[in-house]
Symmetry: C2
Subunit: 328 residues, 2 copies
C-alpha cells in the first residue's frame, strides 16, 4: 500500500523544528559520504516555458530513498490559475524499492529550503546574530525567517521586495515570531546593520554589491539555483572569506558562481567546503567574529527525502492521508 498525502496533510504534520532536524541530518550524512544525490535531470518543455525537474536522493544512515518531481511553469498562474511550481515527492523504502508514500512537494520544498538556510546560519553566522535582511518576499521568504529564528536569537527583520505588497504580506506572515520588522526601499538598505543577509528572488541579474557587505556577516544566497539566475555580484564573492555550498557541481553552473569565476572574484578551487562537510565536522564553520561567510544554496533531493521520511512517519502515527494500492 502507498500513502497519499496532499498539501494540507503535509502542512498539518510538518513543523519547522522537524524540518530543521531532518535537513541537518541530511547535510550530516552528505558530509559523511553516505548519501546518493545523482545530478538532477529534467524535461525542458520549451514549448510551454516549463520544466519538470527530476531529483532522486538516498540516505544510507536514515534508510530513506525518494524522488522529487517538481515542475516550474512560469505561465501557470496567469494561464491556468495554477501555481508556477508544484509536484510530488515519491518516498521509497530503500530495502524493497517500493513507494511507501506519495506527497505534495510544494510545502516540503519551501520548508526544507528555509531549513537549509537555518543550518547554514547555525554553523556559519555569528552566535550573537540578531538582525536579518531579506531581499525577495515571495513564497520562500517566510520559511527562511522561521528557520533562522529557531537557530539564533533574532530581534529584527528588514525586508525588501520590488513588490511592496509582497513585503507587507511577508511581514504579516512572520508577525507571530514577535520580531521588530521593517519594510525597506532598496536591496542596499536591507544590508545595512544586519548580521545575516538572505536573498531569495527569481532574479536573472545580480543586485547585491560587495561594498554593501559588512565584516562578520553571513549571506545565504538562495534564489540563484540555475544557470540563468544570479543575485550576488562577483564583488560579494570577492569579499567572502568562506564560501560554502550544498552540491558543488550544481553550484558551479549557477549564473552567480559562473559569473564570479568568469570575473576572477573566486578561483575554481575557492570553495571552502560543502555545508555537509561543516555539519559533519570535517571542516570548521565560522572561526571568528569578522569573517564574511556565504552559503550558496541550490537544493538537494536528500533534503526533500529526509523531510518526506518524517512526514511519512508522522502520518502513519496520526492516521493521516489515504492508503491506496498501486503496485502489487
Amino acid at each position: 500500500m502507498t500513502l497519499i498525502l496532499g498539501r494540507q496533510d503535509v502542512e498539518q504534520l510538518l513543523t519547522m523544528e522537524l524540518t530543521l532536524e531532518a535537513v541537518e541530518e541530511a547535510f550530516l550524512e552528505h558530509g559523511q559520504g553516505t548519501t546518493l544525490v545523482p545530478d538532477r535531470i529534467g524535461l525542458f518543455l520549451d514549448e510551454y516555458h516549463g520544466v519538470i525537474g527530476v531529483m532522486p536522493g538516498y540516505m544510507e544512515g536514515m534508510k530513506a530513498a525518494g524522488v522529487k518531481l517538481i515542475c516550474h511553469h512560469e505561465e501557470n498562474p496567469k494561464k491556468h490559475n495554477l501555481p508556477a511550481s508544484a509536484g510530488l515527492v515519491v518516498y521509497h523504502d530503500p530495502a524493497t524499492g517500493m513507494p511507501l508514500a506519495i506527497m505534495d512537494c510544494a510545502y516540503i520544498t519551501m520548508m526544507r529550503t528555509g531549513a537549509a538556510t537555518g543550518v547554514s546560519v547555525k554553523y556559519l553566522a555569528r552566535a550573537d546574530a540578531q538582525a536579518v535582511g531579506i531581499v525577495g518576499a515571495g513564497a520562500q521568504a517566510s520559511s527562511q525567517i522561521a528557520a533562522i529564528s529557531r537557530v539564533r536569537d533574532l530581534k529584527k527583520v528588514k525586508a525588501f521586495d520590488i513588490d511592496s505588497a509582497a513585503t507587507a504580506r511577508l511581514l504579516e506572515e512572520i508577525a507571530d515570531l514577535g520580531l521588530e520588522t521593517e519594510a525597506v526601499d532598496s536591496p542596499r538598505e536591507a544590508c545595512v546593520g544586519v548580521d545575516i543577509l538572505v536573498t531569495c528572488t527569481p532574479a536573472r541579474t545580480p543586485f547585491i554589491r560587495g561594498e554593501w557587505i559588512e565584516e562578520g556577516m553571513h549571506i545565504a544566497a538562495v534564489g540563484a539555483d540555475m544557470p540563468h539566475k544570479s543575485e550576488l555580484f562577483p564583488g560579494v564573492y570577492a569579499r567572502g572569506d568562506k564560501w560554502v555550498t550544498d552540491l558543488i557541481n550544481q553550484a558551479l553552473v549557477t549564473g552567480e558562481i559562473a559569473g564570479a569565476m568568469a570575473e576572477g572574484a573566486i578561483g575554481e578551487h575557492a570553495l571552502y567546503a560543502t555545508l555537509g562537510e561543516i555539519v559533519a565536522g570535517e571542516k570548521p564553520g565560522r572561526e571568528n567574529e569578522t569573517e564574511i561567510t556565504i552559503f550558496k544554496s541550490t537544493g538537494m533531493a536528500i533534503q526533500d527525502v529526509a523531510v518526506a521520511k518524517r512526514v511519512h512517519g508522522l502520518a502513519r502515527e496520526k492516521g493521516a492521508g489515504l492508503e491506496v494500492s498501486i503496485t502489487p
Copy 2:
C-alpha cells in the same frame, strides 16, 4: 486532481493493440526528433542489492510527459514476498507540469517491451515470418509473443527456458493465440527453423551463437539492457546485416554491444539506424528476404509515457481509478 490507477486498473484497460499503437507512435516521434529522453539515472542501493531507476520522457506531438520510477530488487521475492521489479509511472500534463495520473508501471513495462519487439518485427522481419523462437520464458515472454502475433501471421512458437516449468507456463499463457507450440531443450534448438528469434532472459553471459542464425532471420535481443548483461555472442552481431536499437547511448553500454565492439564484431559506427528512424521513414527497414536484422531493445521512457497517456485517457472515459488531491 490526480488519478490513481493500480495494477488491476491498468490490466483491465490496456490491450496489446493499444500498446502497439502507442509504442509505434513513440518510435515515430523519436525518429522525427520531437521527443526528450534524458539519459536514465538511478539510485544504486548496493546495500540492498537493488536500484531505483528514474526515467523521464516527453513527446511533443503526443503532448505527453512523464517519469517512470521502477525498482529492481532481486531479493524481493525471497526476502519480502514482493516482486523483484515494481514501481510507478507519473503521467504529467506538459502544458502545466501537473501530475494527471499515477499508475502501476509493472504491467505497462511488460506490455510496452513486448510492443517494442512487435514494432521491430513489423519493420524488420520478413513479411511471411511464421515461426518464432523465444529463449527466456519469464515475465516478459508472453507479451513478446502477443505483440509479434499481432504484426505477423504467426503459426508456431518454440520456447526454451532453463526452468522447464516456466516454459510450460508460457505456452499455457499464450494458448489463446491458437499457435502450434513446442518446448525445446536448448537455446540452439529455439533457433532452428524460425524466422524470428527473441531473447528475453536476465543472462549475464551470452548464449546465442552466430552460426545458429539463418539467413533472413530477425532477432529481437531484449534481455541485455544493462552493462552487466549479455545474451548474444559477438558472432551474432558479426552475422547481422542491419543492427538497430532504440537509444544509441543506452545500447552502447550494454554488456552485449560493448562485448561485440571489443571483439571487433561490429565497429563503433556499425549501427544501421534507430528503430525510430526506420518507423519515421528516414531509413528503410528490411530490404530483401535474406538479410539478417537485429533489434537491440533497451527500453525508453517515452514508450511508458505513450502507453500511460492511453491508459489515462481510457480510465477517464470509463471512470476507472481513484481521484485524489495531492498538489494544489
